[in-house]
């Protein structure tokens, strides 16, 4: 009898404290891009954050989280607290007043005391966004399908005489036009200057026209490695992390060519009117600290946006692959690299995409 009472009261105390706990614990919704990329964030950010703070985190995916943000903020019915978006969208939405501002001074300093503003790579912090990774658009090929000389330059990708076979490209003007120009001999440093002229645009389309009949278009990031694995294409442009995971995690004979890679940031933003703004900010502070950014590299080959994270990068989750050389920012990979110019695309996006759409749908 006595033991039952004790047990009962213990149960009541336990349930009371549990209630107290849930009152304090909040829940936020974080939207990302899905696939191997979301998985890396779950492991490196979400799980440790939930364990450390007791808050809950709901993970949702979209092919591009920028689209639902605009819809939700415009409809004044926001359910996402934090979203992972591309640079051009982060800047554009910030200018359009669709995002909360994030003061960079609030972000945690590096372990050696360097302030966040100095620790993040140049351009990684904007008025409304905090970068977490540097990713890159590269091209990759299936080594088992190419005997003899292997492709090494962007020009090889556009050369279907030297390497006959289909090519996978992302359906959209961005990155393709730049790559076409680089393949046509424009050095990385001058790509946007050339693309700014109407002759340059014509030149880029002319270069793509050379391989038009051999192009297979992809849209979601996961499609590119799939096309390569199915043998549908001989080479494809892709996000480097996806190819890395297919190559290392799934043992596919895929090789990345870093020549002419186009670097870009992914950033965390808080949509205007997010239901749990304060908690969202807490999450971003936690997820973009030095250790967490370094941890993410354990699960996918995207570079951390903080300089102080670089020395902490170790092995891939398989426990044997060194991640350093697979980062887009590794010095050996940066020899002919282009950084995506978001201002250019904010201005020319609609015009060039319209032209691109007209071009690909023409027979």
């Amino acid at each position: 009898m006595k033991t039952t009472t004790m047990l009962a009261s213990a149960a009541i105390v336990a349930s009371l404290s549990a209630t107290a706990f849930t009152v304090n614990a909040g829940e936020i919704t974080v939207m990302s891009w899905g696939g191997a990329y979301t998985k890396s964030q779950v492991e490196a950010y979400y799980k440790p954050w939930m364990a450390a703070t007791g808050h809950k985190l709901k993970s949702v995916d979209a092919p591009n989280p920028a689209a639902p943000i605009k819809a939700q903020v415009t409809a004044k019915n926001v359910s996402i607290d934090v979203a992972d978006v591309e640079y051009s969208d982060a800047v554009r939405y910030c200018d359009e007043g669709l995002l909360e501002t994030i003061d960079a001074k609030q972000l945690p300093a590096a372990p050696d005391g360097t302030s966040a503003e100095d620790d993040f790579i140049e351009g990684a912090l904007t008025d409304c966004a905090v970068a977490n990774i540097v990713w890159s658009t590269i091209f990759a090929y299936d080594a088992s399908k190419i005997s003899g000389a292997k492709p090494t330059t962007m020009a090889d990708f556009f050369d279907t005489k030297k390497f006959p076979g289909k090519r996978g490209l992302r359906k959209g003007a961005k990155a393709n036009l730049e790559m076409a120009l680089m393949a046509d001999g424009v050095p990385a440093g001058e790509v946007y200057k050339v693309l700014g002229t109407s002759d340059g645009v014509k030149r880029a389309f002319a270069k793509m026209a050379q391989i038009k009949s051999d192009i297979v278009w992809w849209e979601a990031g996961a499609q590119a490695p799939q096309l390569l694995a199915d043998g549908e294409v001989l080479m494809t442009t892709a996000y480097n992390g996806r190819i890395f995971n297919a190559a290392v995690d799934e043992n596919k004979p895929f090789v990345i060519v870093w020549d002419g890679q186009i670097l870009d940031f992914d950033l965390y933003v808080i949509p205007k009117g997010a239901p749990n703004k304060e908690l969202a900010l807490e999450f971003i502070k936690y997820a973009t600290d030095t250790q967490r950014l370094a941890d993410q590299a354990k699960y996918i080959a995207y570079g951390p946006a903080r300089k102080s994270s670089a020395p902490l990068i170790g092995l891939f989750m398989d426990g044997k692959t060194k991640m350093g050389p697979h980062m887009p920012t590794a010095p050996a990979n940066m020899k002919n690299a282009l950084v995506n110019n978001f201002e250019f695309w904010a201005d020319r996006d609609s015009e060039l995409n319209e032209r691109f759409n007209a071009w690909i749908t023409a027979n």
């Binding site: 939405y93 200018d95 359009e96 192009i215 199915d230 549908e232 995409n353 759409n357 749908t361």
Partner: protein, 424 residues
Amino acid sequence: MTVSAADSIDPGVPLVTPDGRPLKLALAQATRRARIRAFALVVPLLLFVLVTFAFPIGQMLYLSIHNPVFSDHMPRLTAYLTEHPDVQVPGEEGFAALALDLADAKKNRTAGRIGTRVNYERPGSNSLFKSSARKAAKFKGPPYKEKLLEIRSDWGEPHLWNVMRRASAQHTLDFYAAALDLTHDENGDLSQVSPERRIYVRLFWRTLFLSAVIAFLCLLLGYPVAHLLATLPLRYSNLLMILVLLPFWTSLLVRTTSWIALMQSQGVINDILVTLGIVGDDGRVQMMYNQFGTIIAMTHILLPFMILPLYSVMKTIPPSYVRAARSLGATPLTAFIKVYFPQTTPGIGAGILLVFILAIGYYITPALVGGSSGQLISNQIAFHMQKSLNWSLAAALGAILLFMVILLYWVYDRLVGVDKMKLG
């Protein structure tokens, strides 16, 4: 007797019920109660359709002519432009309105929104607005015109002012113009966009053409199947019906991706062709990611929408008619053409209309298997909804598509008659 009864009714005296009320009134009351009850039963569906269908579509269609971004965020300039309808590049007064609005835009972080709106018609305006707004926020006072022209000489461009004037109108047909590959040239006249940017008109035609081809193929394939279903003994036809319905119940995405697995260049069909030696390993047939892929996959997916209305019509045709025709000496072909076929036209009409209208709005299948030559107009609508986020243009394209469907329905009604259609 009956004649005399009819004669005895005097048209001047109204008929009454036993309790003395006029019969007409009593009847109206009784039927009104029944009507209200019937209406009450329909109300939930009516509300549902209004709230989830009619209202959002109406709102979406309104977006295609209503875009207040510019006038909302540039109130002074909009007022100035309305007051001075003839000025091209204004003087100090107009520039003052512009500068003050830009400064406000910087403060409210709306410069990007305005820039995006103007950018639809004049590429390069996005950065112009953003950078100018940043600097305009620091202006201490006039002369504004001089200062703004110093930042970017673009502000002196008549074309930019033309575009801004058009954008300042809350209600505009510009998005419909854009949806028909038209734009305002330097002089403000409507003209076609440059050839390398023309896309929508071609896609509308392609959508109509491919939908017609698909509807025709569905009829060609579905007609014999429906006939078989309607004439076989029940135990066989039930099994066959399940075979028709099984894909109908399977997810659209699954069916589309199975076609990819079958027909891609490393897919099952090509593998068989290579194994049989019909084509070489380097000569694999490209059946996916082009128009052919779109037609095949969509025909398969829409086939049940043709078979089911055909079946329901054929089921009601007594087999004795054809037998009678045969016994009167008609050849099988004549019996079919003269007797059977005419009776199935309501089903054909329903099937064609159903498949055609569904095909016109198809989106996911062409997106997955269409490559570039198999893209339809719906893919461009999705592009503007999800990627470029130019919702007004997407709405205009959608409205034109809706209009086309209604027009076709009207033509169908005039030619065949909707009352002759039988869905099941």
